[in-house]
């Protein structure tokens, strides 16, 4: 797909109200019902067990596949190990032909979709019926599943009625129970007539040779009961060592997938059982590799083998709920789908779709396999840049950012050049190719005086502790007033703030674009500048920068094999803290008292992705704001991304804009006069959006609100 086609497919998806409406409503309901389904369950404990048993399996694939084969064959199953898609397709077709099979019924199997088995069989004149209702709808409509668990979520009941009416040659109403009854009637005939049943499996247990199949409709029980031949196509990532391993997976899978305590049916097949005519089932189990071993041997991507295919990473993704599954390609969708596509098809196939990830980390919180999906997507990005090269514009930009003196003097020059476009500190229109950058939100003007020039003029009382302030580009060059507020608050606690002038961009933009060399250059410069200062801690008021300093410098060095730099990265990391966590500590130690006001404007708080999910600081800023006398009215989805994502909002404005729109709607619904946050990036996005709307809502960094109180 060309880049333009890709952007067109995104725009088409976003413009489809059925898709975005259904996915939007689902994603809102999902968060609530998932939490309810996990009541009384220690999710962390369950997912630690799953991650452990799945990573064990990934490290012992060959051994477990052999054990499974031995045990399943001892029980009478025929096990076929297939390395490629073609081998699977040929095996199934040959089996069907040898047995004179005319009709096949299938229960849901992603593995069979991955290898396009239906097309292969149909080409040979064998009729194939999907029996999962959603899959059948999609099959009849000639479409592709838009969601791993809910394949037809993009279709309305009217569209389904249309499709069914054509199939049964009668005019049907769009009444859902009636449509379901039609499916029951039609598919029942196919079940009874089929010569072969094909299923996937959610687990293949090595110890017992068992397949564990999870469904709600009961179609897998029919598929494994009515036809005399049962073929199970199982990706080898479904192998688990012990039967008891089924317990944590069966605990998490239904809860994470559909917020059920257990699906209606769990079927455990161990060897053949009698058929309805008294013969014994002809049971064939195909253990399919199709690049899974390769993936499991990659030290970084082995983690992706821990996936249990619950699709919760899709359900909580702020991007997926806008674009749905169709933009992702043929089989696997969403965050994990991007990774699986890169491996099961080829890395290049993930070129476009990996750019959909905004790196908000929502999926990391809910993944029952403990997979760091955004991190793996970044790794894809890095490898793509290595193999396919960086876009020229980006490359030029990162070269500049890597040269601090040049970068900073360009920003100063831009501050002068922007003058015709800037008003009240905001840029509302830009000419030509830059125009899309501020179509949906205004941009901040570059400050006349960067923070590095302001800092020496800030008056500080002498303090008994020295803490270094890392500003980051946005505070330094767009919002120096936030930097000033940080200094004032800390100084009020008896801290002397120092500002190492050698500090430069944190490298996050380069890293998130896969330009790891550039990011490593930034990391090196910053470590040297920040550690040179004799400070007890290093504070940042930008969570993205904080995460870069605290967690990502080391990761970048590691990815590039620069192990000699890891020690200095760790030395820096141990000193880095985000603004609110530091101030909370100072208050706790009795070094700072925030005078509470009697009457303050109403306030709502937006959680920045990196602060909430990587730095785990959501109570800290709220606690401080409450001490200052603010009543916080929580907005819906306070911790969902605002759509900024650094340069994401420039690369994907069509996605960034509706995410922002939702955020602004949720914020406005609280009736609050001020929206507080701890991130200058979020502030830039949200302030820009409010300005375009002409809203009077104030956007403030927590540091500014605290500084306001301390001034009085």
């Amino acid at each position: 797909m060309s880049r333009t086609d890709f952007h067109e497919s995104i725009q088409a998806a976003i413009a489809n109200p059925n898709l975005t409406g259904a996915l939007g409503r689902f994603s809102e309901a999902y968060r609530v019902s998932r939490a309810k389904a996990y009541e009384g369950i220690d999710f962390e404990a369950v997912r630690t067990r799953i991650a452990g048993l799945k990573s064990y399996a990934a490290a012992h694939l060959e051994e477990l596949a052999a054990e499974f084969t031995r045990n399943a064959e001892a029980r009478g199953a025929k096990v076929f190990r297939a390395s490629s898609a073609q081998q699977v397709n040929d095996y199934v077709l040959d089996l069907a032909r040898r047995n004179g099979v005319a009709g096949v019924v299938k229960s849901k199997s992603m593995a069979s979709e991955e290898i396009h088995l239906n097309a292969h069989l149909e080409k040979a004149g064998i009729s194939v019926s999907e029996t999962d209702l959603g899959e059948w709808i999609v099959q009849l409509a000639g479409e592709r599943p838009s969601h791993m668990v809910m394949p037809a979520i993009h279709m309305t009941k009217e569209q389904v009625s249309e499709v069914f009416s054509k199939e049964v040659n009668e005019r049907l109403s769009s009444d859902i129970p009636q449509l379901v009854a039609v499916a029951r009637r039609e598919l029942r005939e196919k079940f009874l007539a089929a010569g072969m049943g094909i299923t996937g499996a959610n687990m293949a247990v090595a110890e017992t040779g068992s397949l564990v199949i999870v469904t709600n409709e009961g179609n897998a029980r029919l598929v494994t009961t009515l036809p005399n031949i049962h073929v199970a196509i199982v990706g080898i990532e479904k192998l688990v060592a012990k039967f008891e391993d089924a317990v944590p997976v069966l605990t998490a899978l239904p809860r994470s997938a559909t917020a059920q305590l257990l699906t209606s049916y769990v079927t455990i097949v161990t060897g053949p059982s009698p058929n309805t005519d008294g013969s014994l089932k002809d049971l064939h189990i195909i253990l399919m590799d199709n690049h899974r071993t390769e993936m499991s041997e990659d030290p970084k991507f082995r983690q992706a083998m821990q996936c249990i295919r619950c699709a919760s990473c899709l359900n909580v993704c702020p991007v997926f709920r806008l674009v749905g599954g169709h933009v992702f390609g043929k089989t696997y969708t969403g965050g994990i789908g991007t990774i699986l596509t890169a491996w099961f098809e080829e890395l290049k196939k993930s070129q476009d779709i990996q750019s959909l990830c905004i790196q908000c980390g929502s999926c990391v919180e809910v993944c029952p396999g403990k997979i760091d999906i955004p991190d793996l997507i970044l790794e894809l990005r890095r490898r793509l840049v290595k193999e396919e090269g960086q876009p020229l514009m980006e490359k030029a930009a990162f070269n500049i950012v890597n040269n601090r003196t040049l970068f900073h003097s360009m920003l100063r020059a831009a501050s002068v050049m922007q003058k015709p476009f800037a008003k009240d500190g905001l840029i509302r229109h830009l000419p030509m190719f830059l125009s899309s950058a501020c179509e949906f939100r205004s941009l901040p003007a570059i400050a006349e005086k960067p923070f590095r020039d302001v800092f020496p003029k800030i008056e500080q009382r002498p303090g008994r502790e020295k803490i270094a302030f890392y500003a980051g580009c946005l505070i330094d060059f767009a919002y120096p007033e936030i930097g000033e507020a940080v200094v004032n608050v800390l100084n009020a606690a008896g801290v002397e703030v120092v500002f190492p002038m050698g500090q430069t961009c944190c490298g996050a933009p380069a890293r998130y674009s896969g330009a790891y060399e550039a990011a490593a250059g930034n990391a090196k410069d910053n470590i040297a500048a920040l550690l040179a200062e004799d400070a007890t801690q290093i504070v940042s008021a930008c969570p993205t920068c904080t995460v870069a300093l605290k967690h990502e410098f080391a990761k970048t060095f590691e990815s590039l094999g620069m192990t000699g730099r890891l020690e200095s990265a760790a030395a820096l990391a141990s000193k880095v803290v985000d603004f609110s966590s530091l101030v909370e500590r100072l208050v706790k130690e009795g070094r700072l008292a925030i005078p509470a006001a009697e009457q303050l404007e109403t306030l709502t708080y937006h959680d920045s992705c990196h602060l909430k999910r990587t730095l785990k600081a959501d109570h800290e800023p709220r606690g401080l704001l409450r001490q200052a006398g603010y009543q916080i009215t929580e907005m819906a989805e306070a911790d969902i991304c605002c759509g900024m994502g650094g340069s994401y909002s420039l690369k994907m404005p069509e996605i960034s804009a509706p995410i922002l729109e939702r955020k602004l709607k949720n914020a406005a619904a609280t009736g609050a006069e001020t929206i507080a946050m701890d991130c200058p990036g979020c502030a830039m996005q949200i302030r820009g959006g409010l300005d375009k709307q002409g809203s009077g809502m104030r956007v403030k960094h927590t540091a500014e609100l605290l500084a306001e109180r301390l001034k009085k």
């Binding site: 029980r221 049916y265 455990i268 009698p274």
Partner: protein, 184 residues
């Protein structure tokens, strides 16, 4: 046993299963007979299939056949496909999730519990297990080539996410617990 049963009932009802409980087997069989009479009254075409299980002895079968003329204990594919109801005897259940669990290796049990629109499950109150790990100490793939866990009737939400019951399997699941139930 009481608290396990109460948990089971709450969880099973939450997923649209119907739960009944009796002290003696004879009471449960009376209930099933009356229920089937009310369901199959007039519809003599449709059989009722009862798959062999551990709980009924020959006199029980005789008595049930006499009361419900449509009832047959010989479950075939054709009979199950046209049946108004299917009855199975199920060994275990799980309180935690409101789940029935049993050995379904015989085709008859699978037919009776999948094809008819109504599934009646006869099971023993004392066999309720608290949770999945406890169940797996009782029911293991070593003993059965086909284990089924059943939680409520067949369901789908594939059209506009609207929960709809009875897509491929039973539309109603009626669970009949008996306190004093012995394998024959």
């Amino acid at each position: 046993m009481e608290s396990l049963f109460e948990t089971f009932r709450a969880r099973a009802q939450a997923v649209s299963a119907e739960v009944h409980r009796f002290t003696a087997k004879s009471e449960a069989l009376d209930f099933i007979a009356e229920f089937l009479e009310s369901q199959t009254a007039g519809a003599t075409e449709s059989p009722v299939v009862w798959a062999d299980g551990p709980y009924l002895d020959s006199s029980d079968r005789e008595r049930m056949r006499a009361r419900v003329p449509a009832l047959t204990f010989e479950v075939t594919r054709e009979r199950a496909a046209s049946a108004a109801a299917g009855i199975t005897e199920i060994e275990w259940s799980i309180a935690d999730t409101g789940t029935l669990a049993g050995d379904f290796r015989t085709a008859e049990r699978r037919l009776a519990s999948t094809l008819p629109p109504l599934h009646i499950a006869l099971t023993c109150t004392r066999a309720i297990q608290p949770d999945l790990p406890a169940l797996f100490t009782r029911l293991h793939p070593r003993q059965s080539s086909y284990i089924s866990l059943i939680t409520g009737p067949s369901r789908t939400a594939d059209i506009e996410r609207v929960l709809t019951i009875g897509v491929h399997g039973p539309k109603r699941l009626i669970i009949v617990f008996v306190d004093e139930l012995e394998a024959q």
